[in-house]
């Protein structure tokens, strides 16, 4: 059996229907020439990917981040951990200036992180990070003591912050995980810090107050925020019942 160049190409690209695919595979077994044509097609794809895939890992130019967010302010920033509301800001001599700058810069700081983040649950609006969708629901409803291992969001520790808000650490699982700390802010969740995380295997349904493998930057944020001990399973359930409002 002979196959046209386009059929051979479509086979190499995984574009054939099942019947034609089977015919090609059958012929390939006894036709080294055909096998070689297919291998050449695949080799070309690999060669191109080797050439261009490294672009994906390059740092994103600020001007493009600014263009994507429609934001004219472009400041170079690097590092994985983005602390959005840093404590030192409270001692800042010009608090207003600091707040304005922070809200402007947040979107750009976060952009490199969000490009690896799942598109559901985190977004930027008016220069602020918003929690929505899956993540907001999990933060409000999910208990660390009862969550399933395959949940898209894994809640870690819940605790009270110095100003009385309830805060929770979380990991968003998808291709690339993102970990963070969110604190309750009236009826929504406010992100305090975010960092890229590697998904970690953890036992289903096991409550791990402090054992969740969070990126160091997130652990540091927690230790800056926390007052007292993390909530145990009972206190966590009670806080949820109160809608994460102070006792």
């Amino acid at each position: 059996m002979t196959f046209s160049d386009e059929t051979v190409m479509a086979y190499a690209d995984g574009e054939l229907d099942a019947a034609t695919r089977a015919a090609v595979e059958l012929a390939m077994a006894s036709d080294p020439d055909l096998a070689q044509r297919i291998a050449r097609h695949r080799g070309l794809r690999q060669q191109l990917r080797r050439e261009f895939d490294p672009v994906l890992a390059e740092p994103l130019p600020d001007r493009l981040l600014a263009a994507a967010t429609g934001n004219a302010l472009a400041q170079a920033h690097s590092g994985n951990v983005v602390t959005l509301q840093r404590r030192p800001m409270r001692q800042w001599t010009w608090p207003q200036w600091g707040a304005i700058a922070a809200s402007l810069v947040v979107g750009l700081l976060l952009a490199p992180l969000l490009r690896r983040a799942p598109t559901e649950g985190l977004g930027i609006r008016d220069g602020k990070v918003l929690v929505s969708g899956t993540l907001a629901h999990a933060l409000t409803e999910q208990l660390a003591s009862t969550q399933t291992a395959d949940a898209p969001v894994r809640v870690g520790v819940s605790f009270q912050s110095r100003n009385g808000d309830y805060c929770r650490t979380f990991t968003l699982h998808e291709q690339n995980a993102v970990a963070g700390v969110a604190c309750r802010d009236r009826d929504s969740w406010r992100i305090e810090a975010l960092a890229a995380a590697h998904p970690a295997a953890s036992g289903p349904g096991v409550y791990q107050p402090a054992a969740s493998p969070l990126p160091p930057g997130i652990e540091q944020s927690v230790s800056e925020l926390i007052v007292g001990e993390p909530l145990d399973a009972k206190a966590e359930a009670a806080a949820r019942a109160r809608g994460w409002r102070g006792p």
């Binding site: 160049d5 386009e6 190409m9 479509a10 690209d13 995984g14 574009e15 050449r40 097609h41 070309l44 794809r45 060669q47 191109l48 990917r49 050439e51 261009f52 895939d53 672009v55 994906l56 890992a57 390059e58 994103l60 130019p61 001007r63 493009l64 981040l65 263009a67 994507a68 967010t69 429609g70 979107g107 952009a111 969000l114 490009r115 983040a117 598109t119 559901e120 985190l122 977004g123 930027i124 609006r125 008016d126 969708g133 291709q175």
Partner: protein, 178 residues
Amino acid sequence: MEENGIRVRIHQCKQPVSPSDLSTELVALLPRLRRFARALTRNPHDADDLVQLALERALARSQQLRPDAALAGWVFGILRNAWTDELRARSRSERIFAPQEAGQNVGDPAAAVQADMLCVQDALARLPDEQRVAVALVLVEGLSYKEAAHVMAVPIGTLTSRLARGREALQALLGAQD
């Protein structure tokens, strides 16, 4: 190939796509847009200029985006059209002014080809634009034939024939190295 296909979607709510949602999605797409542009233009600076232009156009035209539409395909299409505009402008200016950077981005059959020296990017730059776009969408970006045909606004048969010819030419150009 699945993971390289069009995966990013505007979430399926009924409201129009808000600019901030679009921005978040565009940021997520940025690495791929840059890779696609790099395959088209070869020159990294030109590639980023092209991405910037596509981002600006995408934001300006966000009204055109249906909430359930595949965002990646839509933006790839905008970038590809921006590139076509750029090629036309270059060809116009080459007619008006003396050619300066001949062969920089368009196939230049007049130039002596040192085939054994061709790298992937040089080989790609020698393809006719429509073949290069087909190769970039399918082989570099991992789009399906259907998705790539949609981006190029051509029937699938046109896409496959451009892809086949582009591939053949590339293999010939690169094969000379062996």
